[in-house]
Symmetry: C2
Subunit: 401 residues, 2 copies
């Protein structure tokens, strides 16, 4: 099945931002994403889809329905990647949706493919900015103010993106779709272990993220007595080990990660004056998520001295449950297509989390090898890619005819 | 005494690379250092000193002596700074030496002022590259291969520096001076506490530096089970706390610092695959230095699992003792000038450490406020600056007439 149009487009899109090691580095609002938009717009034009964008930098490709007054079907995902991302995370969902919109030529209602802005949150944190702005969860001005490590703001990068497409129509930010379905790789090992091509996602596990700043005092590494130091790196090490003990080792289900650590001035012979870290905590049980969150904050306060610490929650998203009727339709459709499917919890966050309160929402998972994602090793089978796209097309057709 | 030429030149030089906060960021082989060379060359020309450089990017300004066959007096320090440096570290020694060479118009032997390349080691590690190459301690090719965080090599930066001064004569790398004296701020609190303007440095405490690389495995922060992770950040936190316990807290004299921590990919929702750190260990007792060094290496090995660790010693320099006769001359001269002086150990490293095996070498310290250096807070009194320069000039005059 590697000769299908969908697979060929996945491989073609992966050439944009390709890394030497088979991975993809196509971060949000980068020049690579501009090139990816251009490619999607070419394919949309071939299929006579109507392209548009909004103030949040989301890209929409719409198959006009017979009655344009009906709320549209919204399907898709994102095309930005982690700096060390793979070929499938996000891209599969957008291209599978493009297949459905391309093949369903005369739907009763509009079918709109969406590529959300900055799902990954690696260049600009936190992620899922496009869907946050779309549902009004976060003010666009606040989103535009976020800056990357080079000091470029989301606002500046967004304006650069839009300037690259002067003829692309702008639509108002946000609308209420008839439903939202997002196909995605599982990013976990369960479907592979069950030898099933499809997962009908029950919900997304809760997540809290923090930025923690540890303020110490700079000094000369060769002269300042240990007893007089306020070393921000050492305070960080104490805080991280305490957090691992109190949370990371406390529960087989919890996921606790310190993925970003920034040290200042980060010079070999200077005692660090400041360390800024990002913490990512996830748990499917909302009560447990809050309990562990409180423990992490307590650990930071307990181990920071003699440094000062500032703890800021960036994201606090409880677990959600996707629409039971939509999940039931997906399960029945998979059965009707003769494709094996199982219910599955999403350990990773997705834009569908934001859409769920707005309209009936669901997700389709396909297996990825070894459960690996956010890595050049990320891999999916052509047959599974095709199965996920077929299930999406089948349910979209059922709901738009 | 803030109206002296020396003080005015210190303030003028501090304008090059000036930070908004009163500090100076003029790192090795930067455009700021090119501008600083240009300024020094102007002052040298006014004083009719002969300028030259060598393949290691050291700058020499020579007052010709009556007998040019005699080995020259070598005096000076460095003009590069830490990214968050101050106005006096290095610059004081070079400008005090320039005063001596300017005022001693007809010496018996050449008096050569030197500004060593990359003493600080913040942009390119390890530091003291110019004096290392000068005495042949390290091969120039190896030094040229070192790269900064942006991937620029010392070789490339050196060639850029030399290209900026096409008319500057190049001399052979390395020669044997009659003696070497380096004036410097103390970078510690002892002179200030003793209320003395001068320290006659007995020696430099030993130092070992390492680069340690912790290799883990990247993974998705929301999906990979804690038990299956090889998180390089968590391994670093365990190693750092173990090192602090086994070495940092074990001895009131030892100085143990992890000043640089580099995390890859350093993305908030990706488990870190690699952490690279720089360790700086100092102790005046050579046996203790080696004992603690061995403990640090053992701690890295003990706490790394399930990550892999690579431990590389970059610098392994024992404590040294400066020339007794030269120290005696300095002590007598201070007394003769009516300036209070005391013997003092240098906790910080200096190029004089490299010169000591080559020729009689010594250092003159002056107080700095609160013992603070490598910081915009770094400060010295005009009277102390003048005292240090007067002591240098007096002993250089005694040894060159």
């Amino acid at each position: 099945m590697s000769d299908t149009r969908l697979w060929q487009r996945l491989m073609r899109l992966a050439e944009i931002g390709a890394r030497g090691d088979g991975g993809v580095n196509r971060q949000a609002l980068s020049s690579g994403e501009v090139d990816a938009w251009r490619l999607l717009l070419t394919w949309a034009e071939e299929a006579r889809l109507e392209p548009s964008t909004d103030a949040a930098g989301n890209l929409f490709l719409t198959r006009p329905g017979r009655d344009r007054t009906l709320p549209p079907a919204l399907i898709g995902s994102h095309i930005d990647t982690q700096p060390n991302g793979g070929k499938f995370d996000g891209a599969f969902g957008v291209l599978a949706a493009l297949e459905a919109a391309t093949d369903l030529t005369t739907p009763a209602r509009d079918i709109t493919v969406v590529a959300w802005m900055n799902e990954e949150g690696s260049r600009f944190a936190p992620g899922m900015m496009g869907s946050e702005a779309f549902i009004g969860l976060r003010d666009l001005a606040a989103i535009r103010a976020a800056r990357d490590a080079a000091g470029v703001s989301v606002g500046e990068a967004l304006d650069t993106l839009h300037a690259a497409f002067p003829d692309l129509p702008h639509r108002a930010l946000g609308f209420t779709p008839a439903f939202y379905i997002e196909p995605h790789i599982e990013q976990g090992p369960l479907l592979e272990q069950a030898r099933l091509p499809l997962g009908i996602v029950t919900g997304i596990q809760g997540k809290i993220t923090w930025e923690i700043t540890i303020e110490g005092e700079e000094g000369h590494a060769g002269t300042l007595d240990m007893a007089k130091r306020r070393d921000a790196v050492m305070a960080f090490a104490r805080i991280a080990t305490r957090m691992q003990r109190d949370v990371g080792d406390a529960d087989p289900i919890v996921k606790f990660t310190i993925g970003r650590v920034t040290v200042q001035p980060n010079a070999p012979s200077v005692i660090a004056g400041r360390v800024t870290i990002r913490i990512d905590l996830r748990h499917p049980d909302n009560a447990a998520l809050q309990t562990y969150g409180t423990r992490l904050e307590a650990a930071a306060q307990a181990e920071a001295a003699p440094c000062a610490v500032t703890v800021t929650r960036l994201v606090d998203a409880p677990s959600n449950t996707f629409d039971p009727d939509l999940r039931d339709r997906l399960t029945k459709a998979a059965d009707h297509l003769g494709l094996g499917a199982m219910p599955i919890l999403s350990a990773a966050g997705h834009d569908a989390r934001h859409m769920a309160p707005l309209c009936p929402s669901a997700m389709i998972f396909i297996p990825c090898r070894g459960g690996i994602s956010h890595s050049p090793e990320e891999s999916a089978e052509p047959a599974d890619v095709q199965a996920g796209a077929a299930l999406l097309a089948s349910v979209v057709k059922e709901l738009t005819t």
